[in-house]
């Protein structure tokens, strides 16, 4: 089933930031989002993931199919690497974490406490979480932050494998991952505010 986003408008802090965003992803496809800082990429991804309501427009095919990875990794410092993964696997109703550990070269670290990992290793663990969710649509917000070149390659391989298995990925990133992916620049969708427009919360007061 496809992920379809039609004419989506999103707001941050009561102000509209993006409007009229449409995109669609079929199984096996990836889409890379680009745009300057503050252009609303994170807000768009969180809206698609269902974490915040949209101002207007529709998202279909996302319900219970999205694995979201934001700026924070959702890791517990006092749990070991494998305990962290096993927990998320159980929450998402899957079992096996070995493949996820292997995909991000985390096997040697499996019994280390997550709190003792470096920033890049933590990030790898956070991304390995995507694999254990068993969900078809990955929604990733700057996934390569603090990753070195080798880890970026690992990540790109994991995305490729996910797509090959019929998965989909929506990625906001600045670097080139070497993926066969369409690119969507959100800049044209940025909201130009004018006094007549209605929609966002604060506008009722103008």
């Amino acid at each position: 089933m496809e992920l379809n986003v039609t004419e989506l408008s999103v707001a941050r802090g009561g102000l509209p930031v993006l409007e009229g965003v449409s995109l669609s992803l079929a199984p096996g496809q990836a889409l890379v989002l680009r745009g300057p800082n503050g252009s609303g990429k994170t807000t768009l991804l969180r809206t698609i993931a269902g974490l915040q309501p949209a101002l207007a427009g529709n998202v279909t095919g996302a319900e219970d199919r999205i694995a979201y990875a934001g700026h924070a990794d959702g890791l517990k410092a006092m749990l070991s690497v494998s305990e962290n993964l096993t927990f998320w696997a159980a929450v998402f109703g899957t079992r096996h974490v070995d493949a996820a550990l292997a995909a991000f070269a985390l096997e040697p670290l499996a019994d280390r406490l997550a709190g003792t990992l470096s920033a890049g290793q933590k990030r790898r663990l956070g991304l390995a979480r995507l694999l254990v969710t068993g969900r078809p649509i990955w929604v990733l917000d700057e996934p390569t932050v603090s990753l070195d070149a080798d880890a970026v390659t690992l990540f790109a391989d994991a995305v490729r494998a996910h797509l090959a298995g019929g998965g989909m990925a929506l990625i906001a990133t600045h670097i080139d991952l070497g993926l066969e992916a369409a690119v969507l620049d959100v800049t044209p969708h940025r909201v130009v505010l004018d006094a007549a427009r209605l929609g966002a919360s604060d506008e009722a007061f103008l």
Binding site: Y68, M78, F87
Partner: protein, 218 residues
């Protein structure tokens, strides 16, 4: 759901998890009481049931912000909100974990501390029973408070200000039950009221907690 419970319990028991802090606080408050009201054992015996209930309530309050704040900061709640587990269930589990790690030790320790305060012998059963019935309500109401204030930096004080008035009915019936049984009176009515409050908040409060947490996550 079990995975979440096991994880929360494990985190509470590991270093920095704060397990035992509530218990230590409970002990210290109870020890301080005779210093403030005087050592007469007759007076202490009369106020013991109420003091123990108040101290247990404050010890519960102290650990409330740990229920959600850490999971909010590290992004766990974002992922939980998109997980197959309904947020209402996740919050109920978290309240249960808080009850198991904070309130149950208090219930176990209460009879021991009651000795220090010279609680009349008749009161022990009522004290433990009332704490057992009442503390689940404290944990569940506290989870609501934690969900309300999770997005606020240094929300601890606000959390207390919001939660303490909500604790009033539980405290009144709980302490009343403990006092009545200490005085050798029948405590059935307040115990039933207490059980009713616990059952009511267990059934309804998670919906309110999940609603405010969703607001705070967006």
């Amino acid at each position: 759901m079990r995975a979440l419970l096991v994880r929360d319990l494990r985190l509470a028991l590991r270093a920095g998890g704060g397990f035992g802090l509530g218990l230590a606080f409970f002990l210290i408050v109870v020890v301080l009481v005779p210093f403030s009201v005087g050592p007469q054992s007759e007076l202490l015996g009369r106020i013991a049931a109420g003091v123990l209930w108040l101290a247990a309530l404050l010890a519960c309050l102290l650990s409330l912000d740990r229920i959600l704040a850490l999971d909010f900061e590290d992004g766990t709640l974002d992922v939980l909100a998109t997980a197959p587990l309904p947020l209402e269930a996740a919050l109920s589990v978290k309240a249960l974990a808080h009850w198991l790690t904070t309130a149950v030790p208090l219930v176990v320790a209460a009879p021991v501390l009651a000795v220090l305060l010279n609680l009349p012998a008749a009161g022990y059963g009522g004290l433990v029973l009332s704490l057992l019935l009442g503390t689940p309500a404290l944990s569940v109401i506290g989870t609501f408070g934690a969900a309300l204030t999770v997005g606020i930096k240094r929300g601890g004080l606000l959390l207390s200000l919001l939660v303490l008035p909500l604790y009033v009915p539980t405290l009144i019936f709980g302490a009343e039950a403990a006092r009545r049984s200490a005085d050798g009176l029948d405590a059935t009515t307040p115990l039933l009221m207490l059980a009713g409050i616990s059952a009511g908040v267990l059934a309804l409060m998670p919906f309110a907690s999940a609603a405010v947490l969703r607001v705070n996550l967006r």
